[in-house]
Symmetry: C2
Subunit: 185 residues, 2 copies
């Protein structure tokens, strides 16, 4: 079960490293930015997008005109497996709601879903398009379980499962993100 291993890898090799450092990065970011991001509205959690069809884009603004890249958080450098100062970073986005109010948040897609998507396109990977949706759900549930039991990661993230039946809504993504901000602030 590919998704099981990818969820563990995502936690052990990424979330477990970056989530405990996220608060510190946001504090350093606010100290160096005048416009007061995160002060009024937004989230200090890492928002992790999980599209059910695993179809990940690399640039969020291409998905929704209410989403704009704001800036990157300061880099975190960690010596990892022989790579000196491997860089881990997150991007801050401004999301406009229907009243044109700006909300700042740290959001990104769950990178391992890109692997699931590409594997389903490689005939030699032994993994088809029909397996993909099921694997995304398995990834989501496994990751939820792991994170629920992780003291270091608690309350520092939100997993946002994205349905793919929204082709006609140009603000589906910003709405999904905003819904997840309201629930916590």
């Amino acid at each position: 079960n590919v998704a099981h291993g990818l969820a563990w890898s995502f936690h052990l090799g990424y979330l477990n490293l970056v989530l405990p450092r996220l608060e510190g990065s946001i504090t350093a970011f606010r100290a160096s930015h005048n416009a007061g991001p995160f002060e009024t509205r937004g989230s200090r959690k890492l928002l992790i997008l999980l599209p059910l069809n695993a179809n990940i884009t690399h640039t969020l603004e291409d998905e929704d005109t209410n989403i704009h890249f704001h800036d990157n958080l300061p880099d975190t450098e960690i010596d990892r497996a022989g790579v000196r100062g491997r860089v881990y970073k997150h991007s801050v986005y401004t999301v406009l709601d229907k009243d044109r109010q700006a909300h700042h948040c740290v959001v990104e897609y769950a990178t391992p879903l890109l692997t699931l998507y590409k594997m389903s396109q490689e005939s030699s990977a032994g993994f088809g398009e029909r397996d993909r949706r099921e694997q995304v759900l398995l990834f989501y549930r496994t990751l939820q379980d792991i994170l629920d039991r992780s003291v270091e990661c608690r309350n520092r993230y939100r997993l946002i499962l994205l349905n793919d039946e929204h082709e006609d809504d140009p603000h589906y993504l910003s709405n999904a993100i905003l819904k997840n901000l309201d629930q916590q602030e």
Copy 2:
């Protein structure tokens, strides 16, 4: 089979991105360094270390006094899954042979093995220490197959499988690396 998915993830999410760019990074690196690294001896391939026991260290010099960190190659920045300008980099090491001659090479451990190692220590991951060695071999064979069939990655890497029965040899790692340089230069 966790190792199967991790090998695909390592290729699709990393090697397929960085190997085609490696030659360019090394050329840029040599242009900005006087001491002529890579000129006399060394390798322009990415040397990927795979210890059979999946026991990965983060700092190669701690493993062998004949290995010294030299510098990092220039960063590559790629927009990935919502992270703007995600950084990919490699470290260059100087490896001394028994005649104290210095060889430059770009070497690192296969990071997914770290996931295998840590999963074998987490009881909730459903993956024990006995499975680990078998999974490392499966990772190695799967990765070999994938890379053999990849035109973009051909001849730009070497997979170095490391036996773990060498506790008494303080220069096991540098010897393993040097053996892999001779075979190609």
